[in-house]
């Protein structure tokens, strides 16, 4: 990218952006209305000719759709319609994976790591007996060296008895996978809050103390494998939630079509 130095440059840029938008809009329409998951999209050459644009402009449109997860590239095969976004919604990523995807360098400072008896609350969310041993790990996460979030995780010790033997693993999900308890799904709950004094200090909050708290239960095929609480700086974190149409409400058949209480009415 060169710095615009002549008057017409901004206009050219706008025109380029417009063409790229046109290619993108065409593809989005095509994906929504005609193609199905796994279908190949038209070749770069076809798109170049159809829109009378450079291959670079076509690639820019494709890149943006790959970044958005709408398309996926397969080495040597081409570009295809990505699996539906439901996968995204249930994707379990760790802080390090999230940060790297955003082009940030993740860092971690372990604040606490111990194995202790499960409190009633932790026992319930992890489906273990009260007092059963659980590993508790508290970490400060950084991105490009700046504090980003404080996370506390609890893992049933029965799943990974030696998890803390050599210190805290770089990735707890990684350790769970290696131990045969690969996380497959989970549920996040989000809450808006003000940071506590301790959190504000750890996160280096000097102005606003707004934070986003998350509660996550992570499940492996065998059941709950981790519970985590995290506190993210409100000024550094945003969450994208893919939405889809709600499935129809199920009502007993006897009441279907019986006046106002039919299936698709509120």
């Amino acid at each position: 990218m060169s710095v615009p130095h002549a008057a017409p440059a901004p206009q050219r840029r706008r025109a380029g952006a417009h063409k790229y938008q046109a290619v993108r809009a065409y593809l989005v329409e095509l994906i929504e209305n005609e193609l199905r998951e796994g279908d190949a999209i038209p070749s770069e050459r076809t798109l170049t000719e159809r829109f009378g644009v450079s291959r670079m402009t076509v690639r820019q449109a494709l890149d943006s759709l790959v970044t958005d997860g709408v398309l996926q590239r397969e080495q040597g095969r081409g570009t295809f319609v990505a699996p539906s976004r439901v996968d995204f919604e249930m994707r379990l990523t760790t802080f390090a994976e999230d940060a790297r995807r955003l082009g940030l360098v993740p860092g971690t400072r372990v604040l606490a790591a111990e194995t202790l008896p499960a409190t009633p609350r932790i026992a319930e969310v992890l489906s273990v007996a009260e007092g059963a041993p659980v590993h508790r790990v508290q970490r400060l996460r950084t991105a490009n060296g700046d504090p980003f979030s404080v996370e506390t995780g609890w893992i049933p010790a029965a799943l990974l008895p030696d998890m803390l033997a050599d210190g805290v693993p770089e990735s707890i999900y990684g350790a769970l996978r290696a131990g045969g308890h690969a996380p497959t799904w989970g549920e996040d709950t989000f809450l808006a809050a003000d940071a506590t004094d301790v959190e504000a200090e750890l996160l280096g909050l000097t102005g606003s103390r707004a934070v986003l708290r998350t509660r996550r239960r992570t499940f492996a095929a065998s059941g709950a494998c981790m519970y985590s609480q995290a506190c993210y700086r409100g000024d550094r974190y945003s969450v994208v939630v893919p939405l889809r149409e709600a499935r129809p409400t199920i009502v007993p058949r006897s009441r279907e079509g019986a006046g106002p209480e039919t299936r698709n009415q509120p």
Partner: protein, 80 residues
Amino acid sequence: MTTDQSIAAAILGALGGVGNVDQIDPCTTRLRSVVKDPSRVDAAALRAVGAYGVMISGHVVQVVVGPHADNVASDLADLM
């Protein structure tokens, strides 16, 4: 019966049967139901069939079943 079908039947029974259910909304990992009489809901039975969580609030009963909630919901629709 498939596993999901037997789970659906057990969940419906634990919610107090078809007669006790006003509606069920399938979500990605949960079934959110509205029941007539919450006292007829058997939370322990729901957990016993594999629910990862049961939240009861008034007439609303949420059952966390995991990513196969869609399949369970289809089977529930057949049973109701």
